[in-house]
């Protein structure tokens, strides 16, 4: 009989050793792969532990119902014993509206609320161009938001119905012809301006007419003398209209057909209402300006190029604060004697110029990153300068610079807090200072700053995430 040394049946596969599978493996590879890694892990754990130990009781002992910091402390001491720490969110509960609306009259809150909701309806066609589903979702969300918030703000019935009908109409339009929604975006600034500042409806219509004149002159003349010169002439005509004609004509119309809502003064603006107004306007205006400046800087025309470089380098070389002080102190020297216009408008103009200079550099980077072949191919196709820019160069250059453009926008939005230094009520310094100066809330600091910081974080972080998503969507390279 021969011994068989060969195994006749297959063995079941052994499971891997315990430290090579599942949680132990993950732990070993990600946390304890070497002495350096292990000590980093321990340090990290210690840091997390220390932060939790120091702050967790504070979060857990939060007080939401109190009328002063002293009362908060008393409640915490009574509930959790002497010496316990706790957050006093009652200040946010009691004064939240000041951080949001500033000194805007409570009876009129529905107007900024409505403007904020419609902002998204206006942004949708730009941010999600041609995506029917996304547009419908956004418009639906705006409709739901308006129904809830307008009801909470107890807005008057007629405007509520009008607004809801408008958004519902847009929702229908999004199903039929989503491309047409861009007109909403173009008309929105005038509607928003009118909702926020109020007054006669003829004022924003006068402003709108100026733009219509600008576009009409540009298109009408560009066949004859080229787009650049005709745009220049159109601008001059529009400025003349705004300066000398718009006022009397619209005043006349107002006296014939008085239509309007209660007007609100600029000094009643404050908090996030102010920050978002300045931020969104400046973002919207600075992008076209930045593109023009970047094109000017890349231009072959020596004088145009020198002027653009000088402007960009000057603005980028000085702090925003000095520009804001220029708006509040120096404009009275530079403008004709006796002119005095709204401080918010002045600040918006200066912030726009500031952001435009930064955007110009960012876009110039995108323009420089394009291979020369793209420019030459556009020339070979016989496109003129503006056609080449519009159809070939800018779409690619802007796509490359999206992340940097959005981070400039984020920076701009964060910088709106600096308007506090020219006497405006920004959420961070202006309003928080007022709340902290209240005798009831003297000595409170973590809670207001956490509240304001969280809102800023939410807005800036979602902008950053949107830019990452957009970058992925527009990515056309080969993977």
């Amino acid at each position: 009989m021969t011994e068989v040394f060969v195994r006749m049946q297959m063995l079941q596969p052994e499971p891997p050793p315990a430290r090579e599978s599942g949680l132990p493996k993950w732990l070993r590879e990600n946390l304890f792969s070497g002495w350096l890694n292990s000590s980093l892990t321990v340090l990290g754990l210690l840091a997390v532990g220390w932060i939790l130990y120091a702050s967790l009781p504070w979060w857990l002992h939060s007080v939401w119902h109190a009328s002063s910091l002293g009362e908060c402390r008393k409640i915490i001491a009574e509930t959790w014993g002497e010496g316990a720490t706790g957050a006093c969110w009652a200040v946010v509960r009691e004064r939240w509206y000041q951080w949001i609306f500033g000194f805007y009259a409570p009876a009129l809150w529905w107007r900024p609320i409505l403007a904020f909701g419609l902002l998204f309806a206006a942004l949708g066609p730009v941010l999600f161009a041609g995506q029917k589903k996304a547009l419908s979702v956004i418009l639906g969300a705006v409709l739901a938001y308006l129904v809830v918030t307008l009801w909470l703000a107890s807005a008057p019935t007629v405007p509520v119905l009008l607004a809801l009908a408008l958004v519902a109409g847009l929702l229908v339009l999004a199903q039929v012809a989503p491309g047409k929604l861009i007109w909403v975006t173009l008309l929105y600034p005038f509607l928003c301006f009118w909702l926020l500042w109020g007054g006669s409806i003829w004022t924003p219509i006068g402003g709108l007419l100026g733009f219509i004149i600008l576009v009409a002159v540009t298109i009408g003349l560009s066949r004859v003398i080229g787009p650049a010169v005709s745009a220049g002439i159109g601008l001059v005509v529009a400025v003349l209209w705004w300066l000398y004609l718009s006022g009397p004509v619209m005043g006349g119309l107002q006296s014939v057909l008085p239509l309007g809502i209660a007007s609100v003064n600029s000094d009643q603006f404050g908090g996030f209402l102010l920050a978002i107004t300045i931020g969104v306007t400046a973002i919207g205006c600075s992008l076209p300006m930045g593109i023009l400046l970047a094109l000017g800087r890349q231009s072959d025309m020596l004088i145009v190029k020198t002027l653009c470089v000088g402007f960009i380098e000057f603005i980028r070389g000085v702090p925003l604060i000095t520009l804001l002080f220029t708006a509040s102190l120096l404009l009275q020297y530079f403008l004709p004697p006796g002119t005095n216009f709204d401080i918010i408008l002045r600040v918006i103009i200066l912030v726009t110029l500031f952001a435009a200079a930064y955007l110009a550099e960012v876009i110039r980077g995108g323009l420089a990153a394009l291979p020369r072949g793209q420019y030459e191919a556009a020339d070979a196709l016989g496109l003129d300068y503006w056609q080449a820019q519009r159809l070939i160069i800018l779409p690619q250059a802007l796509k490359i610079s999206i992340p940097a453009i959005v981070s400039t926008f984020i920076g701009l939005f964060k910088d709106t807090t600096l308007v506090a230094f020219v006497g405006l009520m920004d959420p961070l310094k202006g309003i928080t200072q007022i709340v902290r100066a209240d005798i009831n809330w003297k000595g409170i600091y973590w809670e207001p700053y956490i509240y304001v910081g969280a809102i800023f974080f939410l807005i800036c972080f979602s902008m950053a995430r949107y830019s990452m998503a957009l970058e992925r969507r527009l990515k056309t390279d080969h993977r």
Binding site: V318, F325, Y333, F334, L418, A420, L428, K429, Y445
Partner: protein, 425 residues
Amino acid sequence: MALASDVPKDSFRLSMLIYDTRYRSITIQVFVLLLVGLFLAWLLQNTAANLAARGKEFNFGFLWQRAGYDIGQQLIPYTNDSTHFRALLVGLLNTLAVAVLGCILATVLGVLVGVLRLSNNWLVSRLMTIYVEALRNVPLLLWILLTYVILSEATPQPRDFRITDEMAAAGEAPAASMILFDTVAVTNRGTNVPAPMFTRGLGMLDLGPLSINLTTLAFLIVLGGSIWAYRSLKASADATQEESGVRPTTWWQSLLIMVLPVSLLSAALGLHWEIPELKGFNFAGGILVAHSFTALLVALALYTSAFIAEIVRAGIQAISRGQSEAAFALGLRPGRTMNLVILPQALRVIIPPLISQYLNLTKNTSLGIAVSYLDLRGTLGGITLNQTGRELECMLLMMAIYLTISLIISAVMNFYNASVQLKAR
């Protein structure tokens, strides 16, 4: 046959200024120049009219008048009898002090965070992501205000540091105590740190309007000499390595070069530290660092470090993995791989955006206004402006100074950038 040479040589017509692309650019430029010229003339005319209406004139004579206000933090001697120009200089130095210290701190922190964010360690990279996102998505102003408020409202009063006789008898500890081996006291009035004192100081060199602290000068000269010696040592080591392939051991020599001269000078001048002490109701001795300075510095450094961390991360990630794998394949140790292969390439990507972060930090020092830090904006653009009522001159001068600082920083950093960029042959 019609060839290109047959194109008629038409004479110049006026309409070609608009229709002919060869001449149109000239037309446009002249048009633009004209518009800008008109605009500037309009501004100048308005300014002149406004100045006349207010009965003011445009000159900088006020800079030589008595300032009449005090500045808390002075790096050069200044009293309220000094001129506005002197106040401007003090403010400028305060701006530069925050900017330089902030850039150094932010770079150190930022590089550390950026590298840790790329670490394989799951926990640490997550923590660093939170650090970066939290810091850079919230306005800088919030960090400045929050740091300042915490420093000035959550810190103990000087009297909390006192140990009374009863407490000593009962063996109780005071409500607050000094940190870092009893040398630094953080109170609600400021941070008291030890001051360097010299028993045999060199005194001041008086040069009319400018007086130079000779002790500081001596230290700077010795330090400069050490750095020069260190660099020549390194160069000679490099030369030896090039010739023989063996790198001489130099670490103890470089340590000696860096440490010994400074220590000798300190000993010669009799350096000792004056530790702050509680006397009466306040701390005496040492240097009182105002909270406005600390808050501004800490907030600027933290905020900018988040941006620098992202730049460093992007720079390291831009180097393809093949580079480090190739270095390992050549047998280089991780440290040498980093020094010789990764960093030289990553620096090329990192430096240009780093320059703009330094510029941003320098410009952001003007936010010191939020905590009443008397920097350039606080002296020239703040108190001087309000006292003299010379808005136009003060603002223009301030903008010119900030612009100059920015241009100098970019010039210096661009020079450095050019030296690390790839040399095209």
